[in-house]
């Protein structure tokens, strides 16, 4: 199939003449793990726009493509199991279809899990947009011994059914053909509609008669009635604002009497699915245990599962250090260093402060951001592969019992743990967690993972202070950070979230080979989005800190930053810090490793051996240990802050986290200082 990629064209410019020139709006819906991204990428290629749904933290992807002279706009709706307002994803999907009325909704279903995947179709068909069922993963279904006759299913459903395998580009052309037929009215669209279970039909009629005439446009009345019976919160709230008081109380009485109706509605849908697939689906009779079953004997085993995960983590760390770290160094030396040199050369005639601002302030900031890229790319690639092949859910399953002690979800484990490389991807990786609360908590805790940059500082300072005990101290610091992370999890969960436990209900998808195109696109989009969104904030903060550390006299010793450091000295003194250590902590906000460079300047030694010796001579062991502790637990670097803000979509939570980390790091620092002093250190 040849798909040409067109420039995005606004829908409003549709010419009135004929339907041929109209841009067809096609919404892509489906449950999680049905291959939606693969199909979306296949059709739109690089011509896609990625953003967020307005006011939500859910990713919105759309893209245009041209096929046989016709332009299509494809909107990728979030993956959801149903359309009851339990999550933002579900709300977005149904609001989009009801309000925007796309020309066609393509419902992607997993042929290997036909019955369950059709549940979403049962919810989509009653909505006011025609539905086409795309039977994806026909190859996996055949492998699992599941046989489906698409024409028989189509005859039962009354909507087009197109068998396909998106990973092999099979059936995609036919799918677009079906979209055209439905949009142009060439298809006799006559869907079979699911009904509520027999024993609740009267109740549904009762509800419909109560709300008759009060349902606001564009919502279909029968749909609203069903959602009320399901106890849908959003719909209930909306109707409470529309119904007169006496009708509302009548409604409340009916709904209270039938609070079990939710199960009846869902059962009705599954009964309908049963009728639809009865003739079309042949399941394997006995058959050998599937590949997924065999792999899961190991991957989800309480012991072997942990061992396999440890192996995978080891491999990822090796990759991060063996490939990521040297790449970071190269970028830092050649690209960032080169840019700074270039700036100095080209700005030769400008006043020195301009040159310094550009070369040190701005390029330094950009550099801090650029050097994140290798680790980010590795992280996104690894997470993408693990998610795509289906392993991520298994790792979450194995880790859930440990994670939920902290109020986290099994899925919190991988993003958090990979935060050992860098906190930025740990925060971004929290997207894999569906539970909003567990996702937020994961993001808030991520900065407590000891990242490589912090470890660099520890690795430089620990030998200076503690000689042969340096390794022990470094391990102690890591252990301390992890303990603080676990305790903070318990604490925040008990207080802020009042101990609600995140329910653990998660599908373990069928294993399949990774789709490199899908993973590549994800890595590309996530990295680009990091540069775009976090970039501005990182650059701004870098310039501000540079200005503070330069003005008024052009040297850090007498700068505003130093004055702030002196002003904060009383706090530092609780741990035996002088103002120089405080300033070092402040500059670590740009990048953690800045602490060393700053101390080098302030002690007039540069970041050399001499610095280590000077520091060891100046400060006591108690102060040294307290400084390492604070450094380990302190407010994260600006890049991490930027992504926390981006992923929580809330300054309030971001500031809460910064304040929390500030209090925790100083609190633990002071505690460490006094414990060591009392022990005679």
């Amino acid at each position: 199939m040849t798909v040409q990629h067109a420039e995005p064209v606004p829908v409003e410019e549709t010419p009135a003449a004929g339907t041929e020139n109209k841009i067809l709006q096609v919404a892509l819906a489906g449950q999680p793990n049905v291959g939606k991204s693969t199909l979306f990428n296949l059709l739109t290629g690089l011509n896609q726009h990625v953003g967020n749904w307005p006011g939500k933290t859910v990713e919105r992807k759309e893209g245009n493509f041209v096929l046989r002279g016709r332009t299509y706009r494809l909107i990728d709706l979030p993956g959801t199991y149903s359309l009851t307002a339990n999550s933002e994803e579900e709300l977005i999907t149904r609001e989009f279809i009801i309000r925007e009325r796309p020309d066609v909704v393509v419902a992607l279903v997993d042929a290997a899990i036909l019955e369950r995947s059709l549940y979403l179709v049962a919810e989509l068909i009653p909505l006011p947009a025609p539905v086409i069922v795309a039977l994806n993963m026909m190859d996996v279904a055949e492998q699992e011994g599941v046989h489906i006759e698409p024409q028989v299913l189509e005859a039962a459903l009354g909507v087009p059914v197109v068998p396909m395998t998106a990973t092999r580009n099979e059936g995609v052309k036919e799918l677009i053909g079906a979209v055209e037929d439905v949009a142009d009215g060439r298809y006799d669209y006559d869907p079979s509609i699911p009904h509520i279970r027999q024993d609740h039909r009267d109740v549904l009629e009762q509800v419909e008669s109560i709300i008759e005439g009060c349902v606001p446009a564009p919502y279909p009345q029968d749909w609203i009635a069903l959602k009320l019976l399901e106890g849908d919160q959003k719909v209930s709230e909306m109707m409470a604002g529309c119904l007169p008081a006496e009708r509302q109380s009548a409604l409340d009485i009916v709904l209270r009497e039938h609070d079990d109706a939710l199960v009846a509605v869902a059962s009705g849908r599954y009964d309908w699915i049963g009728r639809m697939i009865r003739a079309a689906l042949t399941r394997p009779t006995t058959g050998p245990i599937s590949l997924t079953g065999k792999l899961d004997r190991w991957a989800t085993h309480p012991l072997w599962g942990l061992a396999i995960m440890a192996g995978i983590l080891g491999l990822v760390f090796w990759l991060t250090y063996a490939v990521g770290a040297p790449l970071q160094d190269l970028l830092d030396t050649y690209v960032v260093g080169g840019l700074a040199q270039l700036a100095r050369l080209t700005l030769g005639a400008a006043p020195p402060w301009v040159t310094d601002l550009v070369a040190d302030g701005m390029i330094g900031g950009v550099g801090a951001m650029l050097t994140f890229l290798p680790i980010l790319v590795i992280f996104f690639a690894v997470m993408g592969i693990l998610e795509d092949v289906g392993y991520l859910a298994r790792a979450a399953y194995v880790m859930d019992r440990f994670m939920h002690l902290m109020g986290l979800h099994g899925k919190s484990f991988l993003p958090l743990f990979l935060g050992f490389g860098c906190n930025v991807p740990a925060v971004l990786g929290a997207r894999v967690i569906e539970s909003k609360r567990a996702r937020l908590l994961t993001i808030l805790l991520a900065p407590l993972m000891p990242c490589t940059a912090r470890m660099t500082v520890i690795a430089f300072l620990a030998p200076a202070f503690f000689g042969s005990a340096a390794a022990l101290v470094s391990w102690g610091m890591i252990l301390l950070a992890l303990t603080v992370l676990a305790l903070s999890g318990v604490l925040i969960n008990r207080t802020v979230f009042r101990g609600e436990r995140a329910a653990f209900i998660m599908e373990l998808p069928i294993y399949h080979l990774p789709n490199w195109r899908t993973i590549g696109m994800r890595v590309w989009q996530r990295s680009l989005s990091f540069i775009r969104k976090a970039g501005t904030l990182i650059l701004a903060v870098s310039v501000v800190v540079w200005v503070l550390s330069t003005l008024p006299a052009g040297e850090i010793q007498s700068s505003y930053l130093a004055r702030i450091g002196r002003f904060l000295e009383p706090i530092g003194q609780l741990m035996g810090f002088d103002w120089r250590l405080t300033v070092a902590l402040l500059t670590s906000f740009i990048a953690k490793e800045n602490s060393i460079a700053t101390l080098g300047v302030l002690f007039g030694t540069g970041a050399s051996r001499g610095l280590a010796e000077q520091l060891a001579a100046t400060f006591s062991a108690a102060t040294a240990l307290a400084f390492l502790t604070v450094q380990m637990l302190f407010v994260p670097c600006v890049a991490t802050v930027a992504v926390i803000r981006q992923e929580t979509d809330s300054w309030a939570w971001t500031l809460f986290d910064l304040l929390f980390l500030l209090v925790v790091s100083l609190g633990v620092g002071v505690a460490v200082y006094w414990v060591v002093r009392l022990l005679g250190g």
Binding site: Y81, S82, N86, R116, Y119, E230, A266, L508
Partner: protein, 88 residues
């Protein structure tokens, strides 16, 4: 299996967490808040559905197969799905 028993269970009905690896059952009833019921029913746990427990080590989460999909459930969630043992 701390919360496995419930006073309104009819005879022969146990919670899903009581089934051993490889055992089958038919869903009879579900307990829980609306949010959880909605998620569980969407995933296929409706009365009459056949369930097979794929893995259950007696503690921690377990894996069940329902409507051809494998679902991992926390023990607390599995405690609230009531099933009648079946042979196949």
């Amino acid at each position: 299996m701390s919360r496995a028993s419930s006073p309104r269970k009819p005879d022969g009905v146990v919670s899903l967490s009581a089934l051993h690896s490889g055992e089958h059952g038919e869903v009879v009833d579900l307990a829980g808040g609306r949010g959880m019921l909605s998620r569980m029913t969407a995933l296929g746990f409706t009365p009459g559905a056949d369930v097979t427990v794929v893995q259950n080590y007696g503690r921690g989460p377990l894996i069940a197969r329902v409507r051809d999909a494998r679902i991992a459930l926390g023990r607390g969630e599995a405690d609230r799905v009531y099933v009648r043992r079946t042979s196949a």
